[in-house]
């Protein structure tokens, strides 16, 4: 009896899984293509050069913006950040870059809006952007 019920439930879960997969799949493909094209045209060396040269509030804003647009896994971004600091970039700029890189996703906005709704998405991304700059400035002050 319980087994029967469970099979029914299992089938239902599988159905939900398949449905949500197909609901999301096209958006994933689009994001994947945009990321590939972006990274193809803006190689790491150029990113490093831009971040390394920036200073002051304007520079930090620019670096945060680059972090928000780019999509890179954090594990890759830390070695990049370390090499940036070694080559003379400010700690504040690097902290801003890492934080917006992970928290703000302009490329994934369509997917986030689709799943979470426009309100939460826009609030989350814009406040995260401000927070990232605040975190970076505080880190710059205390380190």
């Amino acid at each position: 009896m319980t087994l029967l019920v469970d099979i029914k439930k299992a089938k239902q879960s599988l159905l939900v899984a398949v449905k949500s997969f197909f609901r999301i799949f096209p958006t994933f493909i689009i994001i994947l293509l945009i990321i590939s094209i972006l990274l193809g045209f803006i190689p790491k060396i150029i990113i490093a050069r831009i971040i390394g040269q920036q200073s002051g509030i304007g520079g930090i804003l620019l670096v945060s913006l680059i972090g928000a647009i780019l999509h890179m896994s954090a594990i890759i971004s830390f070695p990049l950040a370390a090499s940036l600091i070694e080559s003379g970039a400010s700690i504040t700029a690097v902290a801003a870059f890492i934080t917006t890189l992970t928290m703000v996703g302009i490329v994934t906005l369509p997917l986030e809006i689709k799943e979470m709704g426009a309100k939460i998405t826009i609030l989350r991304n814009s406040i995260s952007f401000i927070i990232a700059i605040a975190i970076a400035l505080i880190i710059g002050l205390i380190l």
Binding site: S13, I24, L33, T108, I135, I139
Partner: protein, 189 residues
Amino acid sequence: MKEGKQEKGQRVIIRNLMIVTLTIVIGIILITIFPDKRVIIVKTAKAYFIEMIMILPAVMIIIGLFSVWVSKEKVKKYLGNASGIKGISLAILFGALPTGPLYIAFPIARELIEKGASISNIVIFLSAWACIKIPQEMVELQFLGLKFMTARLFLTIVFVVIMGLLIERIIGWWDKKGDKSLGGENASF
């Protein structure tokens, strides 16, 4: 009613397919114009596709199991509006433990919201997923040092919790305003 829903579903599928085709066409055009970028673009796309196709089905199955087996009452109790600090800690923990890119977390967050989790906890969950990851912190420690890592981790947790509560307030405020104007319209009818 059902037919209308189906029609709408079909339209969405067609629209999605069109956007996908358009993006692929743009990609192909760009590759033809800049043939020297072809290798890196194809390589990146391939890497991301493999990452996605490895994680996505598993995540979808977890969402499916979750949607059928976990009751609304449970989610509401542990992550709902009245869950307090416990809810916040759980949201951080749920976000920090699994690995994977942030976009994987969106469908999970949607499922949690539908089951009654509070907006603040969802925002905290997403942010924790984005930047409070244990393996990620290890790499950060290794490359950027203990001081940098702990300072950033501590500040992130503090700000993320504030942001979650703030967003919930703002959305609550917006909804209230919307209800009022809606009520006014109804009253005039």
